[in-house]
Symmetry: C2
Subunit: 207 residues, 2 copies
């Protein structure tokens, strides 16, 4: 059971720390500090130390963090020391791009099932997977015990798709459609919303 | 000139506040509170009040925030009270999906130019825009004074595309490719990284 006494905003920063650690490791570093991580991420070193202190003692005063150890711990905390099967629904242009996305490897997730309701897409192969009919989705999700799904359908279909996924056992949904979907507790939803990122940068534009 | 004394992590939360306010407004609300916003966003009300206090006095003790007023102020602060032209580079499956994305309207950005280097795509129409050759990109960006771009190319091309964009005057890049790109100060980059969102949710899965 996950601890619920830790603010979600703290949980939300852990993946950023993990990504920064992976990057430092690829650059050949073995050791880092809250200061160095903070510089990379635009987060104060005090905030990073405080966030990590929720989960134990990771660094040593004066010597910093061992990147490999801290990465392994963060993977365990975030439950990505395993590989989750992920269902992807909606195999139009966006869904095909997601199915071919190269950024999932070694980060805890693997797209394992593709679903669509269009007769031209059902049966089609995309990146080694066959597109399955939406009618069969609930059965497959239940049988495979899939807990995570991504929705890349048009906005008008997203809520209905979410309802089916949740009924079949999905607990976490990443929604690419530009619409807010309603889900019951304790199901989680996150949104891919490019405008949030654009607005964060437009603040700085010197026009 | 943007103020540089405000932490970027604070700037990064303002778009979330703006999106939540828009949602509340669409639901028919006129007034909200830091408590209500915090509930929606999983952020403490104290944090929200502290973030907003960087920019002045918006709420009244006991009566909360007028949604319309606070939205207008946040739009002005984030410089999305205007509409920015945005260049989109890479018109494969992903680029076509982005060009057709319905989430940009009334949020400060309009995709105005599409670029690709593939002969089959150049000249093609996507959502009312014609795909222009990559060779002409620098000239168009300069002439139109474009400051914001999105990169939806394969990872191997992203750095080269970014270099051309920045040389031509782009100051903010949203990168969909699964690669870290290097940019000179003061250019900003943000990444669309679905794994960051998935890892934030896997923490909570009760398997």
């Amino acid at each position: 059971m996950p601890r619920t006494d830790i603010p979600d905003i703290v949980i939300g920063r852990l993946p950023l720390y993990l990504r920064a650690l992976t990057r430092l490791s690829k650059e050949g570093h073995d050791i880092t500090s809250s200061h160095e991580l903070g510089e990379q991420l635009g987060i104060s070193s005090a905030q990073i130390r405080k966030d990590l202190s929720h989960f134990g003692e990771f660094g040593k005063q004066g010597t910093g963090y061992t990147i490999q150890t801290l990465s392994t711990e963060l993977q365990r905390i975030l439950k990505v020391d395993t590989e989750w099967q992920v269902a992807l629904v909606g195999i139009g242009h966006l869904g095909q791009a997601i199915a071919n996305y190269g950024g999932f490897a070694d980060r805890g997730f693997r797209i394992s099932h593709l679903f669509d309701n269009s007769p031209e897409r059902i049966g089609k192969r995309v990146n080694g997977l066959t597109v399955t009919a939406l009618d069969e989705m609930a059965t497959v999700i239940e049988e495979e015990g899939i807990r995570i799904a991504m929705i890349a359908t048009p906005a008008r279909s997203a809520q209905q798709v979410a309802d089916i996924l949740i009924e079949a056992g999905v607990q976490a949904i990443l929604c690419y459609a530009p619409i807010i979907i309603s889900v019951p507790e304790p199901v989680r939803v996150q949104y891919i919303d490019p405008v949030i990122h654009l607005q964060r940068m437009s603040y700085y534009i010197d026009d």
